[in-house]
Symmetry: C2
Subunit: 621 residues, 2 copies
């Protein structure tokens, strides 16, 4: 297979990898949830995001920095990053669906950014307009390098998408300034919010400018030396408590930690630093075993948008920020390319179909910032009562969601010296080197995935198919890496069928997760299910599953959701609990009153009908 | 019995009440936990607090306001309130234990405050020194009236304690300014942090100045009109979401809500407003049934130091601020006096012996701000790893604790037209009107309480003894109000013995409390118990109680704790859970491996030996 570095039209192009990524447009997705998400992203979300670039102040702020137009700076110090993520979303969308409007938005934005950029290359509208005297003086919370990172990623995307290099010129001028100050001149400052590290490595991969990589190395090596002055949140908040190599578990602000890990793996891969890579893998293993929601959500604490302690995984107060799900997919993708191990693709799938997919409404016009696993009806946080919103004062999530969806094709399959590996299953076409594969499937609603070889190079090669940990694969036996490998001299017209087991499963929590004791959840294939009040014929809070409930699947068309598969579970209706007095008594609960059925809907489809009670984890009678 | 208004030497002196309070020095406490707390409060806590008045900036800030000394303002905008609470603690301590050093501290502080006070009566060192242009301009978070309230309470305490009226003069000048601006001149501003309302009523009770009461009425009536501009925390944070009469449940910042309720009951009692009182009782009933920890702790969320939703009561992340326990006792005491119902005394006892008592180390030199019901060992919040601290940057709790302990005698017994009511049991002497009672008891370690009448007025009167909801009382049958009433012509020398049942109890949570499902706790008498790692012979996280465990009590002398009563419970040792991978599996847990014993210590005595794992709620096998 050919080396794809340099010609990958997608977010990641490592110069060395066990698995090599494909370009976004090497993969066509013709339906299924992933296809649906791409469609609403293009038709609803991206247009909404483009509007918000004016409304939310992102573009007006940059005009102020350029000395154009009037008014005051709007929003947060990291407001520029909304525009950068929106640019990246548009660039990746352009790869799969060229559009002059996208080309124009990128060109105009690049021109505006060039006008706003200082001659020395500095670019941050908040600091240029509001606090010019504080430039690089309060890195612990300034987000200046964080915003630079998103600029670099947008510029790399525009260049790889064939949208010109104007944005790249802006990015390189700013990157040059960072290199001069923080590498050459020896300023040891690091940003309180990781993000620029992974962006610098991609910029290096695109341009070959080694100092970008060297700066990324230094920024990572400088963590854990107390160089981040007080954020008021303690040293763990910004992962400055320990050197990266010594940190055993993810801590502090979840998105900061997860963006940092993407940079850590990028640096380890490009510098061949096996020890650094091993430290990231060690944290991954601790994270998965002790700090991950069943949906793949990360960050269980509202307080500090942070990781909790080990096994601190409350369903109702799970923060599970949408951006943390995205950052987790970025990190796992890098680990998958570096190691070829299917456990990372498994977690990408779990996160993609659950923690991530739930962030967006069925019509693509409303978004969750926080993704809990339970919603009560007397919510008091705000006027939205835990519903999705069109936009946020801090709008980090919506454009982040858009850039991931527009690049979904990038995450479906890879190539290696042995052949083609398929990680995510969706109907469509995969072009990998000389191989063209048709994929027919109703996944994740149906378990059969049928591959037809449309064309293939001569000689033997291996078709590697991920077998998720929750499934058997007929008479196929996956290897220790989680893939079934079929090696042969494939001919055009050959077909191969993978059958995954979508029998619904009752899942129980580890006994150390105190917040979930005595409960069970339902999964089917990659989908985690939840129970919404609207689907029950009694008060959801009075329902409990039978100890070993029979599960039945039912196909339905639901308003606001469309075609879906519900799961019905045997349950009991609990008698009303005695009212009044303290809720702690010596008496046992009265016996269940009556048999009932509890009906579950895929978690990613929740909150599309009303604002009622929801829970993923159901008590067991 | 005589009307006590005007001569009560204690925190509360309502002009009308079903039960009338005694003076602090009407009650001598000769030992037991309450006696011990008073002793360490006097010997360790108060001296430490007096030192901190200089160290923490409270006194230096006021010298700056007085134009004396140099340096910069230290600490928070509400730093003055630390001094006010310290003054109140010293004044109440002086009632039971006169001390020239206390008299000097109060006199010097009053003189300093008089020098710092502006001619117009305004007094707040932060606004006078740092933001003179913002005086009364940012009430939503300024704490100016909050600090004034603590000043008024300190002044009332000093006057009632016979420590002169210099502090009262300062208070009245400030109160006069508030009355002029916010009552006479019609400014509708209200403070974002309730506290001044109850203080204004006490100032009225002491001075007879009706405008103080009228201002308190207006401040309470003004809530729920959106007059509190954005605190950035939403209208519920400061209880400005609904008019007080319409609010059905406590919401937002717990201490704000609970201080407000004290003022609500004070105003209702002084104005005869039955509807207002009923609204407070309604919120009390909802709070107790759905938002109260077994320890009596209030406020389950770190995020906003706030009440959670109904049944949101996590043991590990329970915030349960020490100040909220104190505020709850203030509120319940007012409801007890207003209604005479024992359920309020029951909650005072539960809170006093658990949520409140746990806030202070066994030697009185370290304090908890947050009082969770579970501690893990990989805590990452801060360097203290969840241990008590000597002081805090925001030091609202320590002096608050001191003022409650120094006034404990006030909460033991009351008088009414029928006779004497005893609410809390401690060895010592109770002087109530013409009655003198000796009390002999080892409570709460032992259940027998023996009363001897030392002197009594002629004629019949009733001795009312609270029978806690958790206990029988031999052949005594308590009334619906929770008190056993013994009416007779008591003669000097008469004795009466109350036997309370201290058999340890297994207590289960209401099924709606998701965070406690499948767990049980142990109570004995008024004490909630907890399990600390140091008392177990295996990893506490591997222990579970048997479904219906036998409980055994054991008296012990423990380092850092002294004499106490442990409870041993039948338990099982759980096998180690499978390591690695996601903590969600289709398989059931393996069967318990071996029989074991779990040993519990009174919750209020935890964290006096090491920083190990602790849990109040234990899983049931």
């Amino acid at each position: 297979m050919s080396d794809l570095t340099g010609r990958v039209r997608g977010p990641l192009a490592p110069s060395t990898a066990v698995q090599r990524p494909l370009s976004i447009d090497d993969v066509e997705i013709h339906g299924g949830p992933l296809g649906r998400w791409q469609q609403i992203n293009r038709e609803a979300s991206i247009p909404l995001g483009l509007e918000q670039m004016e409304k939310s102040g992102a573009a007006p702020n940059l005009r102020l920095a350029a000395g154009e137009g009037g008014g005051a700076f709007q929003g947060y110090r990291f407001q520029d990053s909304d525009l950068y993520k929106q640019l990246e979303a548009v660039a990746w969308e352009h790869c799969r669906h060229p559009d002059d409007a996208y080309r124009a938005f990128v060109a105009e934005s690049a021109a505006l950014l060039a006008r706003a950029q200082r001659p020395d290359g500095y670019l941050n509208s908040h600091y240029q307009v509001v606090k010019p005297d504080k430039i690089f003086a309060e890195l612990e919370y300034s987000h200046e390098m964080y915003c630079a990172g998103h600029l670099f990623q947008a510029a790399v995307a525009a260049a790889r998408a064939g949208l010109g290099e104007d944005l790249l010129d802006v990015a390189r001028r700013f990157a040059g300034l960072l290199v001069q100050r923080f590498l050459v001149d020896g300023d040891d400052g690091i940003d309180g919010h990781a993000e620029v590290e992974t962006a610098l490595v991609e910029l290096y991969r695109l341009t070959g400018e080694r100092p970008y990589l060297e700066l990324a190395v230094k920024l990572i090596d400088n963590r854990g030396k107390g160089l981040i002055k007080s954020t008021g949140m303690g040293p763990l908040y910004a992962q400055d408590h320990l050197p990266v190599r010594e940190a055993a578990t993810p801590v502090g602000h979840a998105v900061r930690q997860l963006y940092l890990e993407a940079g850590v793996v990028d640096v380890a891969v490009e510098t061949g630093d096996a020890g650094l890579l091993a430290s990231s893998v060690r944290r991954w293993e601790d994270l998965v075993a002790t700090k991950t929601s069943i949906t793949g959500g990360h960050g269980s604490r509202h307080d500090g948008e942070a990781f909790g302690e080990r096994y601190e995984l409350p369903p109702d107060r799970a923060y599970n920020e949408s951006c943390a799900a995205i950052a987790s997919i970025h990190w796992n993708w890098r680990l998958l390319l570096a190691t070829g191990h299917g456990r990372y693709a498994d977690l990408i799938e779990r996160t993609l179909y659950n923690a991530f997919a739930a962030s967006t409404s069925g019509d693509g016009t409303r978004f969750f910032y926080v993704n809990p696993l339970q919603r009560r009806t007397d919510l008091f946080e705000d006027a939205y009562l835990g519903r999705r919103r069109e936009w946020f004062a801090c709008a980090c999530c919506p454009p982040n969601i858009m850039r991931l969806v527009s690049s979904l094709g990038h995450y479906v399959a890879t190539t290696s010296d042995e052949g083609v590996s398929v990680h995510q299953y969706a109907p469509g076409v995969i072009r990998a080197g000389g191989v063209v594969l048709d994929v027919e499937t109703g996944y994740p609603w149906h378990g059969r995935v049928r591959f037809t070889v449309r064309s293939a190079p001569g000689g033997e090669w291996t078709l590697r198919l991920r077998v998720p940990a929750w499934s058997s694969a007929g008479d196929l036996t996956p290897g220790a890496d989680g893939y079934a490998a079929i090696r042969r001299e494939w001919q055009a017209g050959d077909t191969f069928t993978l059958d995954l087991d979508l029998t619904p499963r009752i899942v129980r929590p580890h006994r150390r997760i105190d917040a979930l004791r005595g409960c069970a959840a339902i999964e089917r294939g990659p989908l985690v299910y939840c129970f919404e009040q609207i689907d029950q014929d009694t008060d959801l809070d009075d329902l409990a599953l039978t100890p070993d409930p029979a599960l039945r699947t039912v196909e339905r068309d639901l308003p606001g959701i469309g075609r879906t598969v519900l799961v019905e579970a045997d349950a009991v209706r609990l008698p009303p609990a005695p009212p009044g007095g303290l809720p702690y008594t010596a008496g046992a609960d009265p016996a269940p009153a009556a048999r009932a059925t509890a009906t579950a809907v895929p978690y990613h489809q929740w909150d599309n009908r009303d604002g009622g009670v929801m829970r993923v984890w159901m008590p067991l009678a």
